[in-house]
């Protein structure tokens, strides 16, 4: 097992190789690869060593996430989901649950996380999925949509209403009454295994309900989303790095009318802005990870800011990279074509641009009397 996820970068790069283009076209990741990375603790690298994980700092896990994001955003999305599940288990699980689930999540079992519902995206009040006690057991009813990684998962971590509060439950994907339907042809992160899932009186043991439930819904959401936002923000730094590198390399060697593209000032402008975007998104993510590692209350807003800035930067930069590559990058599977679609989706997930703006505006307003 590597000491830090950063030490595993080269090995992960070798495992991934040139496959992301084919994954994008097929809309599928090799599950053996996911289990292999999972068994090395790399899908949720912040799990402490005492629970079988790598015990990475947020900063190191962030850099590793950016590296994976530079290779393939579908694979990075799987890391994001697994990491959210692990963070929620660490925060909300009891002693036994932390021991059991964190061991599983660092030994090859895969977890997806379900929040959104047809009537409840960012608006929590519309949530309809409910957990009800039935003797010693619990029954889960409802549905979740666009669950990233559900197509590969062994567990779905589902946030549901419970009594007058909420609960997070670990639902095994072989449970009776659970139906998982793959979403055909998503715009981006095409191989990330997005599914709609339906719970028709799924029976669960009490041990599946993290911390016994009865927890604050906003608290459950914000905890899970904060990890997710950090992970997506760093993943977008990876998209920026891939775009910068690919555009610069192309501009340097592609000749038109006796001149390489890089000799054209308008192309240089694209490269300059790509560099600015990559450096500034990195700085914003580093700042948020410092707050995260210091367990500072600042981390909640910093994670929103980092996600919003990095996703917007990546979406714009991916557009520039496609512009520089032109026909050379205008095919599905190509790194900049994937970046273009994947980055757009990062402006939608874990709080759309607009929801992030509302949160950030509230923060700005709350700091004045």
């Amino acid at each position: 097992m590597p000491e830090s996820p950063l030490a595993a970068r080269a090995a992960v790069g070798d495992l991934v190789g040139a496959q992301p283009a084919a994954w994008d076209l097929a809309g599928e990741l090799p599950i053996a690869l996911l289990r292999k990375l999972g068994a090395q603790g790399l899908l949720c690298a912040e799990v402490p060593q005492s629970f079988g994980g790598l015990g990475a700092t947020g900063q190191d896990n962030g850099e590793f996430t950016a590296y994976v994001g530079s290779l393939d955003s579908s694979l990075r999305s799987i890391m994001t989901s697994q990491g959210i599940a692990a963070a929620a288990v660490r925060r909300f699980g009891d002693r036994e649950q932390r021991k059991r689930y964190l061991a599983e999540l660092t030994s090859g079992k895969l977890a997806a996380v379900g929040f959104s519902e047809p009537g409840a995206g960012s608006e929590l009040a519309g949530m309809g999925t409910r957990l009800t006690a039935d003797g010693e057991e619990f029954i889960l009813t409802g549905r979740k949509m666009w669950v990233t990684g559900a197509g590969y998962a062994d567990y779905l971590m589902i946030v549901a209403l419970h009594e007058d509060a909420a609960a997070a439950v670990m639902v095994p994907t072989d449970s009776a009454g659970l139906r998982i339907e793959k979403i055909p042809d998503p715009l981006g992160c095409r191989a990330a295994g997005h599914c709609d899932v339906y719970f028709d009186d799924v029976r669960l043991p009490a041990s599946a309900v993290l911390g016994g439930g009865g927890q604050s819904l906003p608290l459950l959401f914000t905890t899970a989303l904060s990890y997710g936002r950090m992970s997506i923000a760093w993943g977008c730094v990876g998209i920026l790095r891939a775009c910068l590198q690919t555009a610069a390399a192309h501009a340097k060697k592609r000749a038109q009318a006796g001149k390489v593209l890089a000799d054209h000032q308008l192309v240089q402008r694209h490269l300059a802005e790509l560099l600015v975007a990559e450096r500034s998104a990195t700085a914003v993510c580093e700042q948020a990870s410092r707050a995260w590692d210091a367990n500072s209350a600042e981390m909640v807003v910093s994670a929103v800011l980092a996600k919003h800035f990095a996703a917007g930067s990546a979406a714009r930069a991916a557009g520039s990279a496609v512009q520089v590559l032109a026909s050379a990058g205008a095919q599905d599977g190509h790194v900049v074509a994937r970046a273009f679609r994947d980055a757009k989706c990062m402006e939608l997930i874990e709080g759309t641009n607009e929801i992030c703006q509302l949160v950030l505006a509230q923060h700005a307003l709350s700091s004045v009397n």
Binding site: L210, P218, L219, F221, T223, A297, V300, V301, Q362
Partner: protein, 98 residues
């Protein structure tokens, strides 16, 4: 709700914790709240702030709030949070949790 106020030899007692929490809330949400006021029911606390509150309690009072301790009831009012902080300081101070 029973309040388990076993302050022991801790320098921080219930009134000090309550005072610190009321001041923190007043500063953060720009509203004066009472120790028994329902923060969640009254809509004073946003989803973002709930998480900040947990992290602030952990950071300020050197405790870990995990698992079943995250029950909404423990955060509903300043006096409930005060009781939680006292109880966790008592428990966790006596544990050598690895």
């Amino acid at each position: 709700m029973t309040v388990d106020q076993d302050t022991g030899t801790q320098a921080l007692d219930a009134p000090a914790i309550e005072q610190a929490l009321l001041a923190f809330l007043a500063e953060q949400i720009k509203t004066e709240v009472g120790p028994e006021e329902d923060l969640f029911g009254s809509g004073l606390v946003s989803s973002m702030f709930a998480m900040q509150l947990v992290v602030h309690l952990e950071e300020t009072f050197d405790i870990a709030i995990i698992g079943p301790e995250l029950k909404l009831e423990n955060f509903r009012t300043v006096s409930a949070m005060t009781a939680l902080v006292l109880r966790l300081r008592e428990q966790q101070g006596s544990e050598s949790d690895a």
